[in-house]
Amino acid sequence: MTFHRLAIALTFAFATFAAPLYSDTLPKPTGPVILTISGEIENTNVDGTAQFDRVMLRALDNAEIVTETIWTPATHTFTGVRLETLLEHVGAKGGLIKATAINDYTVEIPTSDATAGGPIVAFAMDGQQMSRRDKGPLWVIYPFSSSSDYRTEVIYSRSIWQLDRMTIEE
C-alpha cells in the first residue's frame, strides 16, 4: 500500500517538478511555423522546442552570402540567419544537428560548421522570399564560392533545401 502511495507521490512529484523544465524562454510564434528546433537546446517556446515563424527569423541578426550553387544557373544573393546565430539563440549544447526537409530527407550537420563565416539558414534569394516550390521556405547555404573547402560532396549534401526541422544531439 505504502509502496503504491509512494509511487503515486513520486509520480506526482515528478509531474510537479517537470513542469518548470518546459518553462519557455523564447517568444511564441505568431505566424505559420517554418522551423522547429528540438533536442539539446536551452531556450524553447512550444513544448520543449524552439519554433520560428518567418517574422521571428527576420528579427534575428541577418546575414548575406553571395555565391554560385551547382543547383542554380547563376550567382545569387542569399539572405538568412547564420547557423551560429541560430544555435546561440536556442542555446544549443549538442555537437550534431540533424536537419530534415519537408519530405523527411535528413542530413547531419556538425555544429562545428556553424562559424562566423560559415553557413546561413537562408529564407530569401535575390531579395525574394523562397517558396516551397523554389527550395523554400528555408535553405542551408554555405559560401561555396569563397573556398574550395565548401565545394565538396559532403558540404553539398549538407546544403539541405525545403528545411523545416532541426534536432540538436549530443
Binding site: 551547382i70 543547383w71 519530405n103 523554389d134 574550395s148 565545394r151 565538396t152 560532396e153 553539398y156
Partner: protein, 843 residues
C-alpha cells in the same frame, strides 16, 4: 713542378666547375619536375575536392522516387479527398517541382542538358509541371476534380524521367570513367617522373662520388707533390729561403742551413734582414722591402740573378748569387729567394783575371822586348853599316875593299833577317795593317824586275814578265805587301836558279761584279822542291837543308810572311814544282780595277836638296859619326848634341833648318826634348823635328807624332831616305805638300820616256863614257882607277852588260894590284868590251 701542379689545379677547378654546373642543372630539373608534379597533383586534388558532381546518381534516382511519391499522393487523394491529403499532394508536387527545376537550370547539369536525350525530356516534364500549377494552386475542389488528369500526367512523366535519368546516369558514368582515366594518367606521369627523378638522383650520386673520389686523389697528388717539392727543396744545392712580405722567414732549406750555418728552428719566424743580410747592406734591404710593400716597385724581384753579399752565422760576409721571386699562395704574397754561395767561383774568377793580367803583362813585355831588340840590334848594326859605307869611300887595298864589301853584304843580310822577324811580329800582333792604294800593276812588277835584275844577272839568270792575255792596269790593292811578296818569290827564284830563266806570268779573270781575280806565277827553271818540302815551305822558320842549295841562307820566314799577307788580302798562295826542273809559285788575289790613272806611286825622282843647317841629336858615338859624315858629304852644315838636354840647350841658341832627333837617349829622351823645344817658344819651336830611330813599329811612329815630331827617318841611315826627308821637310820644301798625299800622275808617255830607270840608264851611259874619257887621260892614281871602275862595273851588271862588267872588274883588280902592264892590257880589253857592249837594258 709547381707549374705542373698549378696547371693540375686549374684542370681540377674546371672539372669542379663542370660538375657544379651539371649538379645545378639536375637540381633545377628536379625542382621544375617537382613543381610540375605538385601543380598536377594539386589540380587533380582540386578537381577531386571540388566535387562538381553532388551525388548525381542519388539525385536522379531521388527524382524518380519523388515522382512516385507525387503519384502516390495523387492516388491517395483520389481515394481520400480530405484537405490533409490534398495538402500532402501539394507538398509532394512542390518537392518534385523543385527537383525538376534543379535539373532544368542547375549549373551542374549544363553539360548534361546539352545532350538531347536528357534536355528534351526534362523540358517536357517542366512544361507538364507548369501546366499542373493552376490545378495544384487552385481551390480544393478544382484540385479534386483535376486529380485524374494529374494522375495521367504523372504516368506520362514517368517514362520521360526514366529516359532522362538513364541518360544522366550513363553520362556521369562516362564522366567518371574519364576522370578515372585522367587520374590514372596523372598517376602514371607521376610514376614516370618519380622514376626520372630517381635516376637523376642516382646520376647525381654517381657524380658526387666521382667528384669526391677525384678530390681524394687530388689530395693524394697534392701530398705527393708537396713531398716531392720538399725533397727538391731539401736536396737543392742552392739555398732556398721563403719569407712573407714583412721579411719573416717561413722556410729555410737544408742547403740554406749549410750555407748560412743557421738551423731552420733558429731562424723560422725571424726577420730575414737580421739573419742573412750583411750589416752594410741592411739599410738598402730595409728600404727595398718597404718600397716593395708600399709601392709594389720591384728592383731585384723577378730580375734574374743578381750578385750580392750575404752573411753567415759567424758574421762572415761572402758573395752570393741571388734570384728573388714573388709568389702567390692563396691570399698571401711570398718572397722566394734562391741563393748560391759563389765564393769559390769569385775566387777562381779573380785567379783567372790575375792570370789574364799576367798574360797581358807578358804580351806587353814581349812587345817591349821586341821594340828593345829592334833598337838594340838595329842601332849597332846601323853603326856597323854606316862605318862600312864610310870605310868604302877611303882608299883601301883591293883585299880590304873585298872584305869591306863582304862585311856590308853580311850586314845587309843580318838587317834583312831582323826586318823579317819584325814583319812576323808586327803581323801577329796586328800592328801591321793593310793599306790599299791605286797602283799600276805593270809598273809595280817592272819595278821589282828592275830591282832584281842585277841579282838575276849575278846568277846568270834571265828574268822577264808579261801578261798572258789582256793586261789589267790600274787596280786598288795593298801594293806594299804585294810588292814584298813578289820580291820574296822573285828573290827565291833567283837564289835557287843558276843560268836559267825566271818569268813572271800574270793573268786576270772575272769574279762577281767589278771584282777581278789576279793570278801571278813566278816560274823558274831552278832546282825545284820535293813534294814533302812543298808542304812545309809556307810555314815559319822552314828552310830546306839540301846539298844543292848549300850556301843559300835565310830565316825561313819569307814564305811564311808571304802566305800571311796573301791570306790577309783574301787570296791564296801555293807552289807546284818538280825537283830538277823548276818551280811555279802562284798567288791568286781579288783586286778591284780602277778606271782612271789619276793617282799612282811613281818612284820618287832623285831630288835636289838645298844645303841645310842641321842639328843632329844622337847619343851613340858611332851612329853620330856615320850620320854626320853622310850629312856633311851631302853639303849640309851639322851641329851635334849627345843627349836630350844638350839638344834643348843647343836648340835654344839659334834656329836650325831641321833637327834629327834620336829617341832613346840618357837624361832626356827624344820625345821629352821635342816637347820642351815645341813648348819652349824658342827659335826652333816650329822647326821640323825628325824622329831618328831604329824602332820602326807603327805605334812608335804614332807616339812620335803625338810628341810633336814632324817626320820619321829610320835607322840605319839610308841616303835616299835621308834625301827624301830633307826634300820634304828641309828649307824650300812646300810644306802644304808634306803629307803623304800621292802626287798627281804625269801623262803616261811622258812617264815612260822619263822613267827613273831610263834616267838611270842614261846616267850609266854618261858615267861609262866619262870613265873611259878619264882613263884615256892616263890617270896615275890606281886607287881612283879601281874605285871608279868598280862603280861602273856594278852599273854595267845591272844593265845587262856582263862583258863590260867583267872587263871593268879586271881593271879594278889590276889597279888594286898596282900591276901597270896588266892594267894597260885590262884597260884595252875594257875599251873593247865597252864598244861591244849591248845597249843597256834592265830586263
Amino acid at each position: 713542378m709547381i707549374q705542373a701542379l698549378s696547371n693540375r689545379r686549374e684542370g681540377d677547378a674546371s672539372l669542379w666547375r663542370r660538375g657544379r654546373i651539371l649538379l645545378t642543372g639536375i637540381g633545377l630539373l628536379c625542382v621544375v619536375s617537382i613543381v610540375f608534379l605538385v601543380s598536377e597533383i594539386v589540380q587533380e586534388l582540386r578537381f577531386l575536392n571540388s566535387a562538381s558532381s553532388d551525388n548525381v546518381h542519388w539525385v536522379l534516382s531521388q527524382s524518380e522516387v519523388e515522382l512516385l511519391e507525387f503519384e502516390n499522393a495523387v492516388i491517395a487523394a483520389q481515394q481520400d479527398g480530405s484537405q490533409r491529403q490534398l495538402d500532402f499532394l501539394v507538398v509532394e508536387f512542390d518537392v518534385f517541382y523543385s527537383r525538376m527545376t534543379t535539373l532544368a537550370v542547375g549549373s551542374l547539369y549544363t553539360d548534361l542538358r546539352a545532350i538531347n536525350e536528357f534536355g528534351q525530356p526534362i523540358a517536357e516534364i517542366r512544361a507538364k509541371l507548369e501546366n499542373m500549377i493552376p490545378v495544384i494552386d487552385g481551390s480544393a475542389d478544382q484540385l479534386r476534380q483535376g486529380l485524374p488528369v494529374l494522375h495521367q500526367e504523372a504516368n506520362e512523366i514517368r517514362p520521360l524521367l526514366r529516359r532522362a535519368s538513364t541518360t544522366g546516369l550513363q553520362y556521369f558514368a562516362e564522366l567518371s570513367d574519364r576522370s578515372r582515366a585522367s587520374v590514372s594518367w596523372t598517376l602514371l606521369r607521376l610514376a614516370l617522373i618519380t622514376v626520372a627523378l630517381l635516376m637523376a638522383l642516382v646520376i647525381l650520386l654517381g657524380h658526387t662520388r666521382r667528384v669526391s673520389k677525384e678530390t681524394e686523389n687530388h689530395g693524394y697528388e697534392l701530398a705527393d707533390a708537396y713531398a716531392r717539392l720538399n725533397t727538391i727543396l731539401e736536396t737543392s744545392l742552392d739555398a732556398v729561403v721563403v719569407s712573407d712580405m714583412e721579411g719573416r722567414i717561413l722556410n729555410f732549406n737544408s742547403a740554406a742551413e749549410r750555407i748560412f750555418q743557421h738551423s731552420f728552428d733558429d731562424v723560422v719566424g725571424k726577420n730575414i734582414g737580421e739573419i742573412i743580410i750583411p750589416d752594410h747592406l741592411k739599410p738598402a734591404h730595409d728600404a727595398g722591402m718597404k718600397r716593395m710593400r708600399e709601392t709594389g716597385e720591384q728592383k731585384v724581384v723577378g730580375h734574374g740573378r743578381v750578385r750580392l753579399e750575404a752573411k753567415r752565422k759567424n758574421g762572415e760576409v761572402f758573395p752570393v748569387e741571388l734570384a728573388l721571386e714573388k709568389a702567390q699562395a692563396d691570399d698571401d704574397e711570398l718572397l722566394v729567394a734562391f741563393l748560391r754561395d759563389i765564393s769559390h767561383r769569385v775566387a777562381s774568377e779573380n785567379e783567372l783575371v790575375e792570370a789574364r793580367d799576367k798574360a797581358l803583362a807578358g804580351e806587353k813585355a814581349k812587345a817591349e822586348f821586341l821594340a828593345m831588340m829592334t833598337h838594340e840590334i838595329r842601332t849597332p848594326l846601323n853603326g856597323l853599316l854606316g862605318n862600312l859605307a864610310l870605310l868604302e869611300k877611303t882608299h883601301l887595298s883591293k883585299g880590304q875593299d873585298r872584305y869591306v864589301r863582304n862585311m856590308g853584304l853580311s850586314g845587309e843580310t843580318l838587317m834583312h833577317h831582323v826586318d823579317a822577324v819584325l814583319d812576323v811580329a808586327r803581323f801577329e800582333s796586328g800592328t801591321s795593317t793593310s793599306k790599299e792604294e791605286v797602283v799600276h800593276l805593270g809598273q809595280l812588277v817592272q819595278g821589282i824586275v828592275d830591282a832584281q835584275a842585277s841579282a838575276a844577272e849575278a846568277n846568270g839568270n834571265h828574268i822577264q814578265w808579261g801578261w798572258l792575255d789582256e793586261p789589267l792596269e790600274w787596280v786598288r790593292i795593298d801594293a806594299s805587301r804585294l810588292q814584298q811578296v813578289l820580291l820574296n818569290l822573285v828573290g827565291n827564284a833567283i837564289k835557287f836558279t843558276h843560268d836559267g830563266r825566271i818569268s813572271i806570268e800574270m793573268e786576270q779573270s772575272r769574279l762577281t761584279g767589278e771584282e777581278r781575280a789576279l793570278e801571278m806565277r813566278v816560274i823558274d827553271s831552278g832546282i825545284g822542291i820535293s813534294d814533302e818540302n812543298q808542304e812545309r815551305i809556307f810555314d815559319d822558320f822552314q828552310t830546306i837543308d839540301d846539298a844543292n842549295v848549300a850556301g843559300v841562307s835565310g830565316t825561313g820566314l819569307g814564305l811564311g810572311i808571304a802566305r800571311r799577307f796573301i791570306e790577309a788580302m783574301g787570296g791564296e798562295i801555293g807552289v807546284e814544282s818538280t825537283p830538277g826542273e823548276g818551280s811555279v809559285f802562284w798567288l791568286r788575289i781579288p783586286v778591284v780595277p780602277e778606271t782612271g790613272p789619276k793617282v799612282s806611286h811613281i818612284p820618287e825622282q832623285p831630288v835636289q836638296v838645298v844645303p841645310c843647317d842641321l842639328l843632329l841629336v844622337e847619343d851613340n858615338e858611332i851612329n853620330l859619326e856615320v850620320a854626320r859624315e853622310m850629312l856633311v858629304s851631302h853639303g849640309h852644315t851639322v851641329t851635334v848634341a849627345r843627349d836630350g838636354e844638350e839638344a834643348v840647350e843647343t836648340a835654344n841658341t839659334r834656329r836650325f833648318d831641321l833637327i834629327l832627333m834620336d829617341i832613346r837617349m840618357p837624361k832626356l829622351d827624344g820625345l821629352g826634348a821635342t816637347r820642351l823645344i815645341r813648348e819652349g817658344g824658342g827659335a826652333n819651336h816650329d822647326a821640323p823635328i825628325i824622329a831618328f830611330s831604329a824602332n820602326v813599329l807603327p805605334e812608335a811612329k804614332d807616339r812620335f807624332t803625338a810628341a810633336g815630331m814632324t817626320g820619321f827617318l829610320p835607322k840605319p841611315l839610308n841616303e835616299n831616305e835621308l834625301r827624301q826627308v830633307l826634300a820634304k821637310f828641309g828649307p824650300g820644301a812646300d810644306h802644304s805638300h808634306t803629307t803623304d798625299k800621292p802626287k798627281v800622275e804625269k801623262p803616261m808617255e811622258h812617264a815612260v820616256e822619263l822613267s827613273p830607270l831610263e834616267k838611270l840608264k842614261h846616267r850609266h851611259i854618261d858615267e861609262t863614257r866619262d870613265l873611259f874619257d878619264w882613263l884615256a887621260s892616263a890617270p896615275s892614281d890606281h886607287n881612283e882607277i879601281a874605285e871608279r871602275a868598280h862603280k861602273v862595273a856594278g852599273s854595267a851588271a845591272a844593265f845587262g852588260q856582263s862583258g863590260l862588267r867583267e872587263a871593268l872588274v879586271a881593271v879594278e883588280m889590276a889597279a888594286e894590284a898596282g900591276d901597270g902592264s896588266a892594267l894597260d892590257s885590262a884597260l884595252e880589253s875594257a875599251r873593247k868590251a865597252w864598244q861591244d857592249a849591248p845597249e843597256p837594258t834592265l830586263a
